[in-house]
């Protein structure tokens, strides 16, 4: 069951990297939040009530609902529809992200360690690389935020694969970090849109030597 969920997660990664419609990308991100929730529930058998609360808050609530809502709102407010001027074509994106998945799988296989499952490792490293790829290859500011969220999802998956528990303060910080960063980033997308009259990152070039 976990393997199926992880496979679905990897498929969403490929879809996000290929899609140019911003709304579809947000929907896929929301789906990833739900998938992560199911994986977390299936993986963590002996989890205490507090940690369970954190997992629900982080996956279902924040990643599944709050962040997609914020992104939808920003997309609507800035009248954005799709990523224009794609620097990397969808076909090439598909090839690159498939390469990431294959490479991560090979890496997980080579680093073989009985304390980490190859499936988790492959999915999380692929998500990390795909997130960075989206940030580098796309031009819309809001897409960059989505790339960051894909990267964050990869890290969440990696944290599930690790048994060591973090102090409560760190768990709280992770949750607050995710929420406040995206709140701040969404606010800044609006501020940039208003001040620079653009939604493209490449036009943010006031600060130069």
């Amino acid at each position: 069951m976990i393997s199926v969920m992880i496979l679905l997660f990897v498929i969403t990664l490929v879809y996000i990297a290929v899609s140019d419609r911003l709304v579809s990308m947000v929907r896929l991100l929301s789906l990833q939040g739900v998938l992560l929730f199911v994986v977390a529930i299936l993986e963590l058998h002996k989890v205490d009530a507090l940690n369970f609360g954190f997992i629900i808050a982080e996956t279902l609530l924040v990643k599944g609902v709050v962040l997609p809502y914020l992104l939808f709102r920003t997309i609507k407010k800035n009248k954005l529809e799709r990523e224009t001027n794609l620097t990397v074509s969808p076909i090439l994106s598909l090839i690159i992200v498939s390469g990431f998945v294959f490479g991560s799988f090979l890496m997980g296989f080579t680093l073989h360690d009985h304390h980490i499952k190859v499936g988790y490792f492959t999915a999380s490293v692929s998500a990390l690389l795909t997130g960075l790829f989206i940030v580098v290859a796309r031009q819309k500011i809001v897409t960059h935020v989505m790339g960051y969220l894909v990267l964050e999802n990869g890290i969440f998956l990696l944290s599930l694969a690790v048994g060591n528990e973090m102090p409560l303060a760190v768990n709280t910080a992770i949750l607050l970090d995710l929420l406040s960063s995206v709140l701040l980033l969404a606010f800044l997308v609006d501020a940039v849109g208003k001040t620079f009259k653009t939604t493209d990152v490449h036009e943010l070039n006031e600060l130069t030597d």
């Binding site: 990390l128 990267l151 048994g163 760190v170 943010l204």
Partner: protein
């Protein structure tokens, strides 16, 4: 249930001060709250000095390094408040906006104190992340095109950087778990790191170095730091170049310290050397190219952060700790003086023909001493810290990199010197008239914090008593 001991009380007290500051409209009360916060930090430093190496609140412990940096934080924090009040007054900021800026300042400084005293890698990460969010509020203050762009870039790249650092912590956790090491506190990790699989440790180190580099302002993620210093207010740039750089240094140094007991030590040294040298290369290139005084100061921080990495890699740990402190004092003095300069001439171009030596001799004096410190020339203390670094460099396995580093540093001395020479002496009747209506006396008095900071740079390098040198040595001990 967590005990209410001093560090927790300091954190809670600072949070209460920040909330009070946010809702205060009276400038006088805002000043009182700022003084209270600096007093809290000073008290915390003295308390931690008194309870050296004792574990408090499970995850916090002040070792010599933490106490040393807390003292630096208190001194530079006090100067930053001083300039922050001048800044908001000069700009005519509404009380609400000034209050939120000062509240963010309280939170920012407190989070950095948290980084210094954390004994758990996860807590270092959590405090650093919180410092990003508070720094964003500080950089955003002006709400101009520059500050919005700088804040966007800073928050975005820091978020990615800090997420990568967290991935590094998770990888370290994987390495630890396979050897039944479940506690990620530095003491436990140091004891057990040699048991862990080196390939996981290497991945973990690379991730953490990349993530924390954005805080220290070194290669690879240094770019947004430069923009943040350029786009934000000058006293914020001073803090980013000093106490935040120290926070990044603390994170990298503590991780290095943990891994230095393992077989990857030489590999880490090589990685740090590469990042250090590349930082100096980029700094040299950009300093030659830039036409902006504030960015020049920011690039100079990149150079000095690179030197600190080289000091770590060559084993000159005393020099690394000393240099990061001296640079913090010197660079914050320069940024504070830059604020002064900008107020007078409303211009940050390097070709501003200000004839500064005559229009404001006291301010020019700060620039002269500051340039001597940044170029690491005697009698400033940075000369000593760089001398120690190069002694170790020449005696170690990386001696062959020395010629490249020396050439780059010679170019930097020439570039920085000639840029400032122009600012001090170039005269143009049209531009030479200061735009400030302040009397010279007030302007002269306002340079006092800079002179105190620069005096500290001189004293620490050449005149510090043995007890202070021993304490720094103790702080640098791996």
């Amino acid at each position: 249930m967590m005990n209410l001991n001093i560090p927790i009380l300091v954190l809670l007290g600072s949070a209460a001060l920040a909330v009070s500051m946010y809702f205060t409209r009276s400038v006088l009360i805002q000043r009182v709250l700022a003084v209270l916060h600096i007093s809290t930090l000073a008290f915390f430093t003295v308390h931690e000095f008194g309870s050296l190496n004792q574990i408090e609140s499970v995850y916090l412990k002040a070792d010599a390094m933490a106490v040393l940096f807390l003292a630096v934080l208190t001194i530079i924090g006090a100067c930053a408040y001083f300039y922050s009040f001048i800044y908001t007054k000069q700009r005519g900021d509404a009380p609400q906006r000034a209050a939120s800026h000062h509240a963010a300042l309280i939170l920012f400084l407190t989070m950095l104190a948290g980084v210094y005293v954390s004994r758990h890698i996860g807590m270092v990460w959590a405090f650093l992340e919180a410092s990003t969010l508070t720094a964003a509020l500080l950089i955003y203050h002006n709400r101009t095109k520059h500050s919005i762009e700088a804040t966007w870039k800073y928050v975005f790249v820091c978020s990615i950087g800090i997420a990568i650092a967290f991935a590094g912590i998770l990888v370290l956790s994987i390495a630890g778990e396979s050897k039944e090491v479940h506690d990620l506190s530095f003491e436990i990790l140091t004891k057990n790191a040699h048991l862990m699989d080196p390939k996981w440790l290497k991945i973990s180190f690379l991730f953490m170095l990349t993530g924390f580099s954005v805080k220290m302002g070194v290669v690879p993620l240094f770019n947004v730091d430069i923009d943040a210093k350029d786009g934000g207010p000058s006293h914020v740039a001073a803090l980013l170049s000093s106490v935040l750089m120290i926070a990044g240094f603390v994170a990298i140094y503590r991780v290095y310290s943990v891994f230095s007991t393992t077989s990857i030590r030489h590999w880490m040294d090589t990685v740090l050397m590469i990042c250090g040298i590349l930082s100096i290369v980029f700094a040299t290139g950009y300093i030659l190219k830039t036409k902006n005084l504030k960015r020049l100061l920011a690039y100079s921080s990149l150079e000095h952060a690179g030197i600190v990495l080289i000091a770590i890699a060559t084993g000159a740990w005393y020099a690394a700790v000393l240099h990061v402190i001296l640079h913090a004092f010197a660079k914050s003095a320069m940024f504070f003086q830059y604020a002064h300069f900008f107020r007078l001439f409303k211009n940050k171009n390097l070709d501003t023909k200000s004839n500064y030596i005559q229009t404001h001799p006291w301010g020019a004096g700060v620039f002269v001493l500051g340039v001597i410190a940044l170029c690491a020339l005697p009698p400033m203390g940075t000369f000593m810290s760089e001398l120690y670094t190069f002694q170790y460099l020449l005696a170690g396995p990386f001696w062959w990199t020395a010629p490249v580093i020396f050439i780059l540093m010679a170019v930097l001395v020439w570039a920085i010197g000639s840029h400032f020479f122009g600012i001090l002496y170039n005269k143009n009747e049209a531009e030479a008239h200061p735009t400030s209506h302040l009397s010279n006396r007030v302007m002269n008095w306002e340079t006092l914090p800079q002179y105190i900071l620069l005096l500290a740079v001189l004293w620490l390098g050449f005149l510090a008593p043995h007890s202070v040198i021993d304490f720094i040595n103790n702080a640098a001990h791996l």
